[in-house]
Amino acid sequence: MGKISLEVNGRKVEKEAPDNTLLSTFLREHLQLTGTHIGCDTSQCGACVVHVDGNSLKSCTALAADINGSKVTTIEGLETNGKMHPMQEAFKKLHGLQCGFCTPGMVMSAVDLLQKNKKPSDTEIRDWLEGNICRCTGYQNIVAAVKEAATKM
């Protein structure tokens, strides 16, 4: 048991949690931020991707204790004053989602890509999304959405 202090989506939070608490569990069960999804047990699907201190990581494969003191951004933290983030807008406009299960991780991962590479090519987008699995879309519209967002960000 230990105290976890984080800044989540701009808000300071402090909670006691057992040492084996995953960041994903901390977000979903301790903070009720259920936008971060859990799609696998093997660190492969990417539905749980969030940003920690500006970089994307799989929240199912990091301990809350391990990232103590960091700044975390989840899918809930992307909107500003009720307005969707350009990446979310682009996914909506170009049908970059069907069931939506993979979408929070896809969007968080794609936002991290554009932070590092403002004008990625199709191949760079596909390579970057290697760790995000989608069972529905076939990826075409996801790639199109990321390209569209790149023109708006």
Partner: protein, 261 residues
């Protein structure tokens, strides 16, 4: 996941003092955490080594590149110094898993784990690496003992990996399309005296292919290994590739590597 105690060590001394027969070091956690979640491993104590400053960073000297054990894959792939000194090592790091794995996974964790399909062990063998631990220096050729097995003793901490800068080198992997682990990966490095051909993914543990090394040391051209018929009796056979296919892939990837040098 079963409960455990989390510790963050300040230095190597504290880390090895905390270690016991029921502990593991926590570097990137990209192997430890999924294995604990799946119940394949349980520990009483996890000793986080990421905050030990000495374990991170990259140093290049005239003859070698030394990488701290807790240095992340993304840091190796982005390093201008590594790109200049050993470009094949930088591209190997860039080809590991996916961006989120590279943002967390470390070189020390990768070689300590010694997965038969991991990429870095082949770099250690091909680039005559020396593994620096808190107790001693171990040559790569004596470090990788078998499947998930190394020369490390319980509680022994890898501090850095020192790679010899080769004249030319290239790493070519045929990745598993889902995980990006190597179905077969071949690291060819031409040093002053000889050529190493390190193979990962093909057998239960990384190895230096003596037959190809000899042929390439005589004549460094892909034609000297063209059509070589490797013994597949000890090669892995699974749903991804049969032993015979792996044997043939080893030659194909080695030829590609020589041509890319």
């Amino acid at each position: 996941m079963k409960d455990f105690n989390y510790h963050s060590a300040k230095d190597s001394k504290e880390a090895s003092k905390l270690a016991s027969s029921s502990s593991a070091f926590l570097a990137g956690g990209m192997t430890t955490i999924p294995s604990m979640k799946l119940g394949l491993a349980t520990y009483k104590d996890l000793i986080d080594i990421k905050n030990i400053k000495k374990l991170s960073g990259i140093k290049v000297s005239g003859k070698s590149v030394t990488i701290g054990a807790a240095t992340k894959h993304v840091e190796v792939s982005n390093s201008k110094d590594v790109k200049k000194a050993i470009p094949s090592l930088s591209s190997l790091a860039e080809g590991i898993g996916d961006p989120q794995v590279r943002n967390r996974g470390t070189i020390g964790g990768s070689i300590a784990n010694n997965d038969p399909s991991a990429d870095y062990p082949s770099a250690c063998i091909a680039l005559n690496a020396t593994i620096h631990t808190n107790e001693r220096k171990i040559e790569a050729a004596k470090f990788f003992k078998g499947m998930f097995e190394t020369a490390l003793k319980k509680g022994e901490l890898i501090e850095a990996i020192e790679f010899q800068i080769p004249e030319k080198s290239s790493y070519q992997k045929h990745p598993n399309p889902a995980s990006r682990y190597a179905i077969v990966g071949v690291y060819v490095a031409k040093h002053k005296g000889d050529v190493n051909v390190a193979v990962t993914g093909a057998k239960s543990c990384v190895y230096n292919d003596k037959e190809m090394s000899k042929a390439l040391s005589g004549n460094f051209s892909s034609s000297s290994i063209d059509g070589m018929d490797l013994d597949s009796s000890e090669m892995n056979s699974d749903m991804h590739a049969s032993a015979d296919f792996r044997a043939s892939l080893v030659v194909t990837q080695a030829k590609k590597a020589v041509d890319a040098c």
